[in-house]
């Protein structure tokens, strides 16, 4: 029996190890290595920090980096604020069939790909779009209005992409809460704000953290929405990585930018977990 369990352990461990090593760990180690390579001539390489120096000296790079980070945080916050009342309604107030249907309605947009969703927003927001035509028909504006290609449009699209990943964990944690807890809060003389702050939010914290982490990651790493909906000045960091790899064939610089993006996202995820006292296992698994 003992030897069969050892055998099955190895049989199951091998594919796992191959997957995680060949598709995740080794590629990232190599990306890190390439980011420190400096091409001296066509076939000689040296190690150095040139690519990272470029990042800090070229303001275009680090400005976009900061912008992407700040806008992703902002998007995450707005997504949380928009999703919370909806999740609350689904988890606590809706009954029976309505509950299931409302939950399903939150899922439906995500059967369409990010490209389709972004395209839908472009049709709505652009100069020849539906909103512009609607405003003209109402007589509120004189000519076509361009609502696409600015930061607000990008955030609308990003929030839209993130909503599901916020609503689902919030509903899951809020469903587990006991009504008695909330009632006790009111009985003990708490107002709405106090009950919210002292009882509901602490209870929902695992859901909030997990939703925020996923939405932040998705937003930071998104490419389609900011590229298609953003204007000339609204560069996104993933767009720069793409440019380095695909347009300029500068893999070393692209790898360095990739490492920086990875560091930023890991840092924020780690900070989020630390500040709220959650663990990755509890939040993701």
């Amino acid at each position: 029996m003992r030897s069969t369990s050892r055998l099955s352990l190895w049989l199951l461990l091998t594919p796992f190890a191959l997957w995680i090593l060949l598709l995740v760990l080794l590629p990232h180690v190599q990306m890190l290595r390439v980011s420190f390579q400096v091409r001296e001539s066509w076939d000689t390489l040296a190690f150095g920090v040139d690519q990272y120096r470029n990042f800090f000296t070229e303001s275009y790079y680090w400005r976009t980096f900061l912008r992407t980070g700040v806008m992703s945080l902002f998007t995450t916050l707005i997504t949380l604020l928009i999703a919370f009342p909806v999740a609350w309604y689904i988890a606590r107030l809706a009954r029976g069939r309505a509950k299931g249907w409302l939950f399903l309605a939150c899922l439906v947009p995500f059967w369409a790909s990010e490209l389709v969703r972004t395209y839908g927003w472009m049709i709505l927001l652009r100069e020849s779009g539906l909103f512009s035509a609607g405003l003209q028909a109402l007589g509120w504006v004189d000519g076509p209005v361009e609502m696409l290609y600015n930061d607000a449009a990008v955030i609308i699209g990003l929030v839209y992409n993130g909503l599901l990943f916020m609503v689902v964990p919030l509903v899951t944690t809020l469903e587990g809460m006991d009504d008695n807890l909330v009632e006790a809060g009111y009985d003990l003389g708490g107002g709405h704000a106090t009950v919210m702050r002292e009882i509901v939010v602490p209870w929902a914290m695992p859901g909030i953290v997990s939703g925020c982490i996923v939405v932040f990651m998705l937003t930071l790493g998104s490419y389609l929405t900011p590229i298609l909906m953003g204007g000339k000045d609204s560069a996104w960091f993933t767009g720069q990585i793409f440019t380095q790899f695909i347009t300029r064939f500068n893999w070393e610089q692209g790898a360095a930018l990739g490492v920086l993006l990875l560091v930023l996202s890991s840092l924020i995820v780690w900070l989020g977990l630390k500040l709220t006292g959650q663990s990755l296992r509890k939040v993701m698994g």
Binding site: V24, W111, A133, S222
Partner: protein, 286 residues
Amino acid sequence: MIRSVPRSRWFNGLYLAYLVAFFLYLALPLLVTAAFAFNDAPFPSLPWKGATLDWFIADGSDERTGFFHDDSLLAALWVSAKIAFWVTLISVALGCGNAVLFERLDFRGKEILYLLLLLPLVIPGVILGVSILVFYSGMANEASRAWAVELDLFRPGTPLVVMGQVSFITTLSTLVIAARLRKFDPQLEEAALNLGATPVIAWFTVTLPWLLPAILGAAAMAFLMSFENFNTTVMLTGSDTPLTVALFNRLREGSTPVLNAAALVLMVASALLAALVMRRGSGNSA
């Protein structure tokens, strides 16, 4: 704010209005995309010029080529389907193994390996794509330069896209299958063993049927995620572009109602797939 706590009337009204606005916000982009697939005009915008099916079925004779006659988009659709097939197969097979590994076996370092399992979820998709490009394409370049060996498998193209997508979809399928395995009563398997089944037979006749709904669910999810993926795919694709990348390239040239038609076909297909799995899932649990 809960049912037993009274709420004022205007608060209720406001809350309801908010919910209506929210679901409108969710539905609007998709409804608009779908509607303009039928507008009889060469550009997906108002005014409405009457309904047509041209953007689906026109064969190009009337200066309009519908989605079902658009050879490059259909070729891209086929590429996407091939990629999704392999990704589903590999990631679900890996997911089954991983689920058993983490739910049923105990070994040293399990905690750390579990964190490694979750790792792809906290890596942006673009980075997963880039790292695989750097590692494998770099290897192919190196092999070509040093030994004149051509590793075409590792050049950007379908195999590399499959690898890139498997890297993170495996984690998701593992989590789906493991969640079901956690609810499994090991006594059932022991009963089978006591009744004389070998471990292999017990696995195939008792455990696997129990896991089947989760495996099907994971497969549908893997297929959809693969089909719709853009961020990882775009870094690894070669000349045979999958559908999302092909649509993106079209969109950059300018939007036509053919894009709306393609989007609608995609939406309907994913909705059908999702509905099928949900129906099966609810049928089994009832």
